[in-house]
Amino acid sequence: MATSLESTNVVKPDILRNAIGNVLSLFILLLIGILAFSIRLFSVIKYESVIHEFDPYFNYRVTQFLIKNGIYDFWNWFDDRTWYPLGRVIGGTVYPGLTLTAGSLWRIFNSLNIPLSVETVCVFTAPIFSAFASWAAYLLTKEVKGTGAGLTAAILLAMVPSYISRSVAGSYDNEAVAIFALIFTFYLYLKTLNTGSLFYATLNSLSYFYMVCSWGGYTFIINLIPMHVLLCIATGRYSSRLYIAYAPFVVLGTLLASLVPVVGFNAVMTSEHFASFLVFIIIHVVALVYHIKGILSPKMFKVAVTLVVSIGMVVCFAVIAVLIALVASSPTKGWSGRSLSLLDPTYASKYIPIIASVSEHQPPTWPSYFMDINVLAFLVPAGIIACFLPITDASSFVVLYIVTSVYFSGVMVRLMLVFAPAACIMSGIALSEAFDVLTRSIKFQLADILGDSHSGVGDAASNSRNGVVQNDVSKVNKQSVGDKNEDTSKERPSRKNRKKEKENMEKVSIKSRIEKRLLVLPFETSIIAVFLLVLLGGFYVIHCVWAAAEAYSAPSIVLTSHSHDGLHVFDDFREAYAWLSHNTEVDDKVASWWDYGYQTTAMANRTVIVDNNTWNNTHIATVGTAMSSPEKAGWEIFNSLDVKYVLVVFGGLVGYPSDDINKFLWMVRIGGGVFPHIKEPDYLRDGQYRIDAQATPTMLNSLMYKLSYFRFVETDGKGYDRVRRTEIGKKHFKLTHFEEVFTTHHWMVRIYKLKSPKNRIRGKSKKSKSTPKASSSTSSKRASTGKRNPWH
């Protein structure tokens, strides 16, 4: 009777403690979701609810099409308003996950009679999914180290600036949903690994399918998981759970991945997927070996192993030789350009200028690590160590995740985004371990300290309590556990501990061994340490909120500057697109550098020649060549492409540095890469691109120079370029083949129309110049007899 009473007394506090802990953890998760959503709203509050940057405009346009026309038309959509005259197969070249997600959200809201516009749904998709991603991080870290670590990782991920930068309200891009899919897939993999459940394995495959639909970064998953499986096999951690976690994933995942049109047969043909198949074979071999080892006696097993290994090696070498020959026969060894540039960071700069020119593909600087993950930078190593104490399958996975993601983030600044969740998980683990020790120290010494101050709690072990209170690691406290239990159960601490007095009812009913010592740090030290960690967390929170508010909320489509007379807003881009939309025909073609293609098609609704998809290098090189050529040659190239308007971005008047003159070097390089008559040294003076009086004649005569600086001298009389900080070289010139039709308020966007060729005058014969046409880029479509030039 007494024992049953004691046992119920023992069990109840545990249940109560866990119940309170569960409720509190749910409440914390809810708050984390709210925080993740609201911290991303700065862009909407400071600017407006607008889509940001460039790529999101394409996604927005595609979503509009999907919602208007339905999924079948979207799947089969051939877009003729971009990459004129080539067009683009949208259905087969876009990752549909984001679009389908936003489309589904819109449909759900509308079916609930919440009339949100497509733009609103697109703008707020990213904050919603960042809340989901935080919850996924909680689940994932819980699989590794428990609920406390999960909560800490979740709060860190909700606020990490690196993730905020790609998921603010308005940043309607693939990463907004892909990071959630990535973390959730990893969580389901670890769940399967820990439980050995086929149910979770299936869910894992479905989650991987969602990731494949969402982002090209799915190749990270399909390489990391096989790497982890290999690691487990190599460290002797093979088990049936590992097999169940991996084999169904490869089969189902590959089948599902090939359903996505943009992936298709790449799922089985490209080198990026080969690792998964190789490890699939290896795991079956290992499973077979273990199975046979269980059946045979040790001696027989040794014989069998020798036999099989010798035969197997021969077969293996033959197969590998064939594979290597096949793969080596392709110029990129079977890897796509982008993936190869991850393995060899110098690859893109040597061979693919387009990839090298994208600012996101540059390596990050050291300060950007501190900007993007802040204090996590030095919590990560502590987390890595904590993962080894003790090492489990799940903790080895996250260690592998962080090591690979650190490498890739060092290659490409865009991949800091993949590194951020790993950093948050590691830091969460480290912080949780610290909190664990410190709170335990406080809890079980506070009870004793407060117990001293209460009268009427006398027992034989009071001096032993004092021993515990003065505990430092050099003292040995010899008392029984039973006494300690009675002490703690009888304590009634003061209101200082708010809801924690219930925990003092808890009994540790483990052992009654003598010479037990409570593993705690000194009480005062623990208090100070907790305070310092709260301070650390405070720094992190403040930095993250600052980064979200100031650094990462700018929509790029609208620029602001603060000066002595207040806030200036530069809305030139939308002004230009609105002008195009209202003052040009629907079928008019607009040529600009590829950066502005998506915005032009989405906002101005005009056909463009090249856009941000950059799938056709020759077409981009054509436009680059036209911009680098003299006015006449440029006109001929554009005329051959049916272009009516040319758009250039110019920042010289206001000091906007990302204008076309600063991008000009890429036009020359990309153009020169395909059309050899464009030679970069012709544009350089002493190795630099200059636009002042020292500039080369080729530069001063180029179409880009002329279109940027036409009439620029009229602004201040001197033609002072605020970005290049110099006066321009050629100030007074006329355009012969183009006419200016619109320049925005701050001269940031300038639109020119191609002049029609002059009519030939009848009756007068002019000696036609018999020089062959110098433009080697495109053939002229003019049906003129001979080589008569209408301009002469």
């Binding site: 802990g21 609920t147 709170t439 709260v534 929170v541």
Partner: protein, 52 residues
């Protein structure tokens, strides 16, 4: 509508509150660890025992 200064303040407050709540959660869940329990535990446990 809310100002960006107010949103910044609220975000800071919420962030730090959640952080403190997480520490509270650890406090609630903390259970006693004794020297004798060291069999399956980690390096920290080892550290405690060694420094006698």
């Amino acid at each position: 509508m809310i100002d960006d200064q107010d949103l910044g303040f609220l975000a800071n407050l919420l962030g730090i509150s959640i952080y403190v709540l997480v520490i509270t959660y650890h406090y609630i869940i903390a259970d006693q660890k004794y020297e004798g329990n060291c069999e399956n535990q980690n390096y920290v446990c080892f550290l405690f025992t060694e420094m006698d």
